[in-house]
Amino acid sequence: MKRHLGKHEFADKVMENRKRFYCIAYSYVKNEQDALDIISEATCKGLLHLKELDKAEHLVTWMTRIIVNTSIDFIRKNSRTAALPEDSKGYPDDADLRNSQAEEPEREALMDLYNAMDILDPEERTCIVLRYFEAYNFREIAEMLKMPESTVKSRTYRALEKMKQHMTGG
């Protein structure tokens, strides 16, 4: 049954998950003030559109999507993202994926991975943040971002490959 969330419940949930939300925003901008501005803006958007949230239980993923989108908007407006390489041919298809040599990183590799995220475009960064820092699975990310699971996978592996090349100087 559809249950709308009240503004007090919203406030409680946002407060409860604030550090997690901040980490997501920070992963995009790597700057304290910018991350705080994103959280502020995302909170405002969340409240204004609270009635659009289909289920109260989905608040955290719904707010995560708002934070991701607000972060991407922020980066675009402030031109702080690294552009895609000039030889980019777009995202790989399933065949590319099957042949991908990219592997999921272990915990000890995460530090380098985190720093290497700066070379990614915002959409790729979203997949890395949600998959490896927020520990969502591909299906959940696909639902959150409202895109096919295959696209999420392709972006993720492509991002990992780019970071791997960057980290090995390739």
């Binding site: 406030a11 980490c23 705080l36 502020s40």
Partner: protein, 291 residues
């Protein structure tokens, strides 16, 4: 792999500032909603205003809904009255957007849950809001006054004599075309003063000039004589008005006719052994007494 834990270890979270940022976002949403609400209400209220003002024959400006959707717990919206509660704080924070001022009290870097005690009174000649706030330091008041001065619709701000030791009183002189409302909310604590163009202005009509009668004293410094008169006539709730030449007068009442004012003066003379300090005078919304 505890990815979430990893992220938290990597990123230093400025928690106090983060909480402030969330409150700020909530406040912004509240302002945006409020703006939409007022815009919708203004045109519809114009006709009701005209009727109200003409029939009452005094500038009666307040007619908007008192309860509106806001974030945090809504406590009250008022034109005249008071609220708040003892609120420990070490600073204040002010947000100004055009004609709205939002006041937060800050303690240990965070917005407090409540707002400090306050009282609001409105006078129509000249049009002004008289505000008293408890437990405000001089420095905090300076910040507040400077914020209020930058609001659209504010003509002047000046200090008046406060009754309590822990209180700061001041008057905000409004442009004639502005009405106002004060909203208090808690969790987070927030006191907002919103000025908005009155219904006549919105309906592009000329508001009638209302002559208001009141009892007044001569112009004085805010000295011992002035303070003793404030004490003597405390039961009559005297208002303090700064004149054009910079002196202060005490006024009692606002009346629609000279006759009503004369009757009130007679009553005052009877109760206060002559009340020789007061006489009948008159003014309008945008008319500050000369001296």
């Amino acid at each position: 792999m505890d990815a979430e834990k990893f992220a938290y270890e990597m990123i230093e979270v400025p928690d106090d500032r983060l909480v402030q940022a969330i409150y700020k976002g909530m406040g912004k949403a509240r302002q945006l909603r409020r703006r939409q609400y007022v815009t919708r209400s203004l045109t519809a209220a114009a006709a009701a205003f005209a009727l109200l003002v003409c029939s009452a024959n005094v500038p009666s400006l307040y007619a908007y809904a008192k309860e509106i959707p806001v974030l945090g717990e809504f406590v009250r919206a008022l034109h005249v009255g008071g609220g708040g509660e003892s609120t420990r704080h070490e600073d204040i924070e002010i947000e100004i957007s055009d004609s709205e001022l939002v006041l937060h009290f800050i303690d240990k870097g965070r917005t407090t849950d409540t707002v400090a005690p306050y009282e609001v009174q409105y006078y129509s000649a000249p049009s002004r809001i008289a505000l008293t706030l408890q437990s405000l330091t001089e420095e905090e008041y300076g910040k507040l006054e400077s914020g209020i001065r930058s609001m659209n619709g504010v003509e002047d701000v000046y200090r008046t004599q406060a009754e309590g030791k822990d209180e700061i009183s001041f008057a905000i002189v409004l442009d004639r075309l502005y009405d106002y409302e004060v909203i208090e909310q808690i969790f987070p604590g927030m006191l907002s003063i919103r000025l908005f163009q009155d219904a006549y202005y919105t309906a592009e009509e000329r508001a009638p000039e209302q002559k208001v009668y009141y009892l007044r004293t001569k112009g004085m410094e805010q000295d011992e004589e002035f303070r003793s008169l404030l004490v003597k006539y405390r039961a009559e709730s005297p208002a303090q008005v700064k004149t054009q030449e910079g002196s202060f007068i005490l006024t009692i009442g606002e009346f629609a006719s000279e006759e009503e004012a004369e009757n009130r003066l007679a009553e005052l003379q009877k109760n206060y052994g002559g009340a020789a300090e007061f006489r009948v005078s008159s003014g309008m919304a945008k008319e500050v007494p000369e001296k």
